[in-house]
Symmetry: C2
Subunit: 424 residues, 2 copies
């Protein structure tokens, strides 16, 4: 029976029993951190052999004869550009392989625009106002970059096909101060949606008022499937080329959730114009990224199929965890009608919408009960969820057993906070 | 006999014979690149075992229990902070261990100041004029950062004790737009000098008009000795603490010329205030640097003594190369009185001053003869050597045999260009 249909007295009784369950839980002294989308140690174990593929000096020369131990090769070694261009859907001459952090590359891209401008346009730092569109709920670290640079963020609602394209088309065509949009097009963080072909085409066909408008296409989960027959994402750079807008998109990717989160390689793909522009500013920052690590990745995976095979092992580890979360929510919460959640086919998160006004309370209760979730509001710009209802669940790090405990607590907290809310 | 004391006819005859030698050389089709200070493959071989110190997952936990494969630990793992704080002379809580490039850290430091300001001061990007002092000759990549951000550079002459402190004291105390100075205090690039104790003390005692004035202390060669009893450099952070100016200095270091130039670790050391400020902006850019590589370094060296022992192997490889250069110059050029050069006790370079107006010509002749040197002028801001006389010799990369050939050519080019000059 739906919670809101209960008599007040019945609801109070329920609440009392949930409080008792909650207090029991608290007494267990659980201590679990589910705040971030981190791979589990077992997932990291999958790539251990990558650390041993290079053993002698003769292994350390790239295809075109560069000693990977030494300085240089700013754009990354040829074989890494070939491999990862296939992963993010660009040409091998449309990519730069960087260090371990795609976030750093995104930051660089924004920072370059702030201090030097894009394609000869006025540096954003010299403008009175710069705005970014932010499909919500979204990724807090994207929003933090905007906040850091004083870029105003505008929330864009997201549906099952992607962000609201009507709204985006209208806004970017009317407002020259809108310079960018953050997108996680495949297995979106946190909603798990995959942008539809129509959405991708409409992105490629945007006619922004600002010449230096850029789509920040963070394809962090492009090979991170949870099903055997994944929905495919239309190639944005191809679509942009057809529409004559190939300079409008920056594509980002990394192996942070493929090999090692702290020791992967990250990359930016884009039109040749953009890659050249990015490279010229990069030349001021560094002599080159860690080529030994690039080589390790290539030698380990051999080719894109090797990488895809590797991702199946991740899938096998993650599916039971996602299933545990979804089954528990289905059993404990669905009948009460107090929350809705995503059922993603890939990525790292499940997005849950509680009753309005309950998310902060649920997260607080969980924390006091021993499970740290992503902060409520984190999925919105400025940390402000206007309805205080979205919670990001990150099921990847804990073991299935830990997750079972955590979900048990989480469901009690949802029930308790909802009852509190309904009882006013 | 000094070249300038020769009769014109004698000089013309000499020139003719040098031209013949030069043309002979050209015919050999030599192809050598000595443009940058790169370690030789043999030097890189010294650290090969570092790639194999980590073999199993259980090796991958840092002292304080962090899984180095996963996200996080923005400031670097504890044991790396301990090891490298001893290398650059700061406390283990006064350092951040970063990625493979100290240049990137310096760029970050300047970039942060440009967009956000230092310690609450106006961001440099909002000021009409920002200036940096540049001891010359110096490092072109430092100058490139300034040029990129539109920071005006002022040349400061360098003597055997360091840069001209009278000039520096006067300028920084009078001009609030002077926000920084680039220093390579030990085995300076390219002069090889070590700043005297007096110079370091005067740096620490600076009273700049600008509150956000910073000394960029690039201690890139702090353990890169070429003698067994190296001159020691006074600890700048200690001196600053005594003078109450510990927020005035950023210290940079890296293992680029200790382990692998492309796959080392780099670091910034400073006061706790500065480290906290730097860390808070870093948190926007990245979740953390490559901790596996940090761990590799620590496991390989074990402690600072291990690192110092390792540097003796580099020394043994580099000493014959520096000797080859110096001996050849002494034999071929000294008697003619047409150049002066440094005799460094460490670092990566020999700095040569030709007759005024000859450096570009010498570099050009060398290039056409098959040896690429660092471009003339590169050691000065804006690539402009006011007297066109300084040439940076980078003897580390070629083998001794190659170096012998290269030096032979180089000396012919010095002679030829000098004769051309003297003959008008």
């Amino acid at each position: 029976m739906k919670l809101e249909e209960l008599q007040k007295s019945d609801l109070m009784e329920k609440k009392k029993s949930w409080e008792a369950q909650y207090n029991n839980f608290k007494a267990q002294g659980l201590k679990l951190n589910m705040a971030r989308g981190k791979p589990s140690p077992a997932q990291l174990d999958l790539s251990m052999d990558m650390l041993n593929v290079i053993t002698s000096a003769s292994d350390l020369y790239s295809e075109d004869g560069n000693d990977c131990r030494n300085y240089g090769v700013l754009e990354g070694i040829t074989e890494a550009r070939e491999l990862f261009s296939k992963m993010i859907g660009v040409g091998a001459d449309e990519i730069i392989i960087c260090g371990n952090s795609s976030l750093s590359i995104m930051h660089n891209a924004v920072s370059n625009a702030v201090t030097h401008g894009i394609g000869g346009c006025t540096p954003w730092g010299k403008l009175d106002k710069v705005k970014f569109l932010c499909p919500v709920p979204g990724y807090d670290r994207h929003f933090a970059i905007c906040e850091y640079f004083g870029i105003e963020m505008i929330n864009i609602p997201t549906g099952p096909e992607g962000p609201d394209m009507d709204m985006i088309e209208k806004l970017v065509s009317e407002d020259e101060s809108i310079k960018g949009i953050w997108c996680v097009p495949q297995y979106s963080n946190p909603t798990g949606i995959v942008y539809s072909d129509e959405t991708v085409k409409r992105f490629a066909a945007l006619k922004p008022a600002a010449k230096d408008f850029r789509i920040f296409w963070d394809n962090a989960y492009c090979v991170h499937h949870l099903t055997d027959n994944p929905k495919s994402l239309l190639n944005i750079l191809d679509e942009c080329k057809k529409a004559g807008t190939e300079d409008m998109v920056y594509i980002f990717g990394s192996t942070s959730k493929i090999t090692f989160s702290g020791s992967g390689v990250a990359m930016i793909g884009s039109s040749k114009n953009n890659i050249n522009e990015f490279k010229s500013s990069l030349a001021i920052k560094t002599i080159g990224y860690d080529k030994i690590n690039q080589l390790r990745h290539v030698r380990y995976f051999k080719d894109i199929n090797g990488l895809k095979e590797h991702m199946k092992k991740h899938q096998a580890m993650l599916v039971p965890k996602f299933r545990m979360v979804l089954d528990t929510l289905e059993r404990e919460i669905a009948p009460l009608g107090i929350a809705q959640w995503s059922k993603p086919d890939g990525g790292y998160f499940i997005s849950l919408d509680s009753l309005p006004g309950c998310a902060s309370r649920i997260v607080q209760l969980c924390k006091e009960g021993g499970v740290t979730l992503t902060g409520a509001g984190a999925t919105y710009p400025y940390g402000k969820d206007p309805e205080d209802k979205n919670i990001r669940i990150a099921p990847t790090y804990p073991s299935v057993e830990e997750l079972e405990k955590a979900m048990e607590l989480f469901c009690i907290c949802i029930k308790l906070a909802s009852a509190e809310k309904l009882l006013g």
